[in-house]
C-alpha cells in the first residue's frame, strides 16, 4: 500500500543489540512507551486474565480452580446454543442487509448529477447517526409496543389484522430485532460505499457512458466489481460488530420472552452483572473471542492478495 519510508540510510540491514544504538533510538522508545503500557494494562492483562478466569469458579470468598467445568457447562447449556443461533441469525441478516441497502442508496446518490445535491443527500443519510444508538433502540422499542408506532401505522392503512405484540411474540421477536433501523441505510456503511464509488476513475465511467451502457449495466459490470473490497470490509465489520454487541436485545427485550432473543454476549453480561458468575462469563467471552479471531483470520486470508500493511 504505502511505500515504506525509512530514516536510516541502511534500512534492511539486521540490527545487533547495541547499547549505543538503543540510546540513539531512546526517544523513539519513549514515544511508543505510553501506548504500550496502556495497552498492556487495559487490553493484554485483562485478555489473559479473562482466559484464566474461565477456568475458575469465583465467589465472594475468592477463586477456585475448576478446570474445564465452565466450558462443560457452556457446551451442555442448550439455552446457550439457542442464543448462538439467534446471534448467527442477526449477524447473517445484517450481512445480507449491509451488502444491499446502503449500496443501493450510495449508487443512487452517485447518479445524481449535481454535486451539491449529492452532498445534501449524503448529509440526509448521515445525520440520523448523531442520535445515540441507545436512543434509536428505545424509539424502536416504542415502535414495537402493543400501542406503539408499528401497530398504529398498520391500523391506519387498514392492516389491523397484522397487529401484534412484536416483542412479546416469540415467533416474530427475532425478526423485530432484525428490522430495527429499517431501511438500514443511515450511517457509516453507505459512506464507505460512496467513498468507494468516488474512487472509481471517471475515465472508466465516462467510457461506459460513451458505450451507451445503461445505468444498471454500469452498476453491475463496473461499480459492483470495483466495490468488492468495500463490501468485504463491511461484511467483516458487520460480523464482528454482532459478535461483540448486545445492546439491541438488552435494551429492547432483555433477551426475552424467555430465551427467544437471547444472545451469548448478553448472557455473558448477565453472568457478570446479575449472577456474579465470573468464571462462566469469562468462558463465554473466550468462545466469542475465538469466533472473532476465526472471522478475522478468514478475512485476512481472503485479502492476502492486497498489499500488506507493513
Amino acid at each position: 500500500m504505502a511505500s515504506q519510508v525509512t530514516f536510516s540510510a541502511s534500512a534492511p540491514r539486521r540490527y545487533r543489540i547495541n547499547l549505543e544504538r538503543l540510546r540513539h533510538f531512546a526517544p523513539l522508545y519513549l514515544m511508543v512507551l505510553p501506548t504500550v503500557v496502556m495497552l498492556l494494562i487495559f487490553f493484554y492483562y485483562p485478555a489473559i486474565n479473562g482466559f484464566l478466569t474461565s477456568f475458575h469458579y469465583v465467589d465472594v470468598r475468592g477463586w477456585r480452580w475448576v478446570g474445564l467445568d465452565n466450558y462443560e457447562r457452556l457446551f451442555s447449556d442448550a439455552r446457550l446454543g439457542q442464543s448462538f443461533k439467534n446471534l448467527f441469525f442477526l449477524a447473517g441478516f445484517n450481512v445480507l442487509v449491509v451488502t444491499t441497502m446502503p449500496l443501493i442508496v450510495a449508487a443512487l446518490i452517485f447518479r445524481v448529477k449535481s454535486t451539491v445535491a449529492q452532498f445534501w443527500w449524503r448529509i440526509v443519510f448521515v445525520i440520523p447517526i448523531v442520535v445515540p444508538a441507545v436512543a434509536i433502540i428505545l424509539v424502536w422499542r416504542w415502535m414495537y409496543a402493543a400501542d406503539g408506532g408499528l401497530n398504529i401505522l398498520l391500523n391506519l392503512i387498514g392492516l389491523g389484522d397484522l397487529t401484534r405484540s412484536w416483542l412479546g411474540d416469540r415467533d416474530v421477536v427475532m425478526w423485530a430485532l432484525a428490522f430495527t433501523n429499517f431501511p438500514w441505510v443511515a450511517g457509516i456503511n453507505f459512506l464507505i460505499y460512496y467513498a468507494g464509488l468516488q474512487e472509481i476513475s471517471s475515465e472508466i465511467l465516462d467510457a461506459a457512458v460513451v458505450d451507451g451502457a445503461t445505468s444498471f449495466r454500469r452498476f453491475r459490470s463496473i461499480e459492483l466489481p470495483l466495490l468488492r473490497p468495500q463490501m468485504r470490509l463491511l461484511v467483516l465489520l458487520t460480523l464482528i460488530y454482532w459478535m461483540r454487541s448486545f445492546e439491541l436485545p438488552m435494551i429492547m427485550t432483555n433477551g426475552g420472552p424467555g430465551y427467544a432473543s437471547m444472545v451469548p454476549g448478553l448472557r455473558m453480561f448477565y453472568a457478570i452483572n446479575r449472577d456474579f458468575d465470573l468464571g462462566y462469563g469469562s468462558a463465554i467471552g473466550t468462545i466469542l473471542f475465538l469466533i472473532v479471531l476465526v472471522i478475522t483470520l478468514v478475512q485476512i486470508r481472503l485479502t492476502r492478495t492486497r498489499d500488506d500493511v507493513v
Partner: protein
C-alpha cells in the same frame, strides 16, 4: 434549459431517494413528536404532533440529563486528548523510523484490534474494581484512552504516505525524533487528527455497556447510560419525558455535526475503514 431538463430527468431518482429517506427519519420524527406530549395528549394521539408543545417534558428530562453533558465532556475530552497525543506519537515513531523492535511493536499494537471489547468485559471490570476505580470517571476514561489501536492505524497509514524528502532535510538540520514529530508530523497530521477526534467522540458518545457496568453513581453517568436509566428505570413512566431525554442526548452531536460537517463525514469514513 438543459439544466431544467436534466433536473426533470432526475425526478424519479430523487423520488426513490426520498422513499429511502422517509423511513430513515421516522424514528427521529417519532422522538420529536412524542417529546412534546403530556400524559393525556399521548393517550389521545400517540404518534402525530399535538399542540400545545409541552416543554415541561424537557424540563423534567433535563433535570436528570444535565449532569451528563459535563461528564461526557470530561470523560471524552480527556480520553480523546490522550489518544490523539499518544497514538500520533506512537504511529509517527513506527511509521517514519526503523529501529530494533519496530515490527514487534507494530504487531503488538495492532493485535489489540482483534480483541473485541466485549470479550475483556469481565476481567477489565475486575481490574477496575481492584484498582478501586469503580464509580469514578477514571473507570471509563482509562479504558477509553487505552483504545488507541484504531487511531494508530489511521495515523500510521497517514504518516507512511508522507514523502521522505522533508524528513531528510529536517534530519540534516539536526532535528531530533521528537522535534520532527512536533514540527513536521503534527502540523501535517492536523486535518486527520480532527477527523479521528470526531470519530472517537462519536464512538464514545454512543457507548453504553461499559459505563453501565462501572458508573452506578447517577452524578457520574454518561449521556447514553443516563438516557437508558431515565427511560427504563422510572417508577412512573411518561413517554414524553423519555423521548425528551432522547432528544437531549442527541443535541451535542447534532451541534458537532453542524459545525464540522465535512470533518465529521471524513472522520466516520476513515474510522469505519480502519476501525
Amino acid at each position: 434549459m438543459s439544466r431544467l431538463n436534466r433536473l426533470r430527468r432526475e425526478i424519479p431518482l430523487q423520488l426513490v431517494l426520498l422513499i429511502f429517506a422517509v423511513p430513515t427519519f421516522f424514528p427521529v420524527f417519532v422522538m420529536l413528536s412524542i417529546s412534546g406530549k403530556d400524559f393525556f395528549q399521548y393517550g389521545q394521539q400517540p404518534l402525530l404532533p399535538t399542540l400545545p408543545f409541552n416543554f415541561s417534558n424537557y424540563e423534567v428530562a433535563w433535570a436528570s440529563m444535565s449532569s451528563t453533558y459535563f461528564n461526557n465532556t470530561v470523560i471524552i475530552g480527556t480520553s480523546v486528548a490522550v489518544i490523539l497525543i499518544f497514538a500520533s506519537l506512537t504511529s509517527f515513531a513506527l511509521a517514519r523510523f526503523s529501529f530494533p523492535g519496530r515490527k514487534v511493536l507494530f504487531y503488538f499494537v495492532l493485535a489489540v484490534l482483534a480483541i473485541p471489547p466485549t470479550v475483556i468485559l469481565v476481567p477489565l471490570f475486575m481490574l477496575i474494581v481492584n484498582m478501586g476505580l469503580l464509580n469514578t470517571r477514571w473507570a471509563v476514561i482509562l479504558p477509553y484512552a487505552a483504545s488507541q489501536s484504531f487511531a494508530i492505524l489511521v495515523f500510521y497509514t497517514f504518516f507512511s504516505t508522507l514523502s521522505k524528502e522533508i524528513f531528510e532535510s529536517a534530519q540534516i538540520d539536526g532535528a531530533g525524533f521528537f522535534q520532527m514529530y512536533i514540527h513536521l508530523g503534527l502540523p501535517l497530521a492536523r486535518p486527520i487528527m480532527s477527523s479521528i477526534g470526531v470519530f472517537l467522540i462519536w464512538i464514545q458518545w454512543n457507548d453504553y455497556i461499559w459505563p453501565s457496568l462501572v458508573l452506578s453513581n447517577p452524578e457520574l453517568q454518561t449521556v447514553a447510560l443516563k438516557l437508558v436509566v431515565f427511560y427504563l428505570g422510572r417508577g412512573i413512566p411518561e413517554p414524553g419525558q423519555g423521548m425528551a431525554a432522547s432528544v437531549i442526548s442527541s443535541i451535542p452531536l447534532v451541534i458537532l455535526f453542524l459545525v464540522s460537517m465535512r470533518t465529521f463525514i471524513a472522520g466516520l469514513t476513515a474510522g469505519a475503514v480502519k476501525g
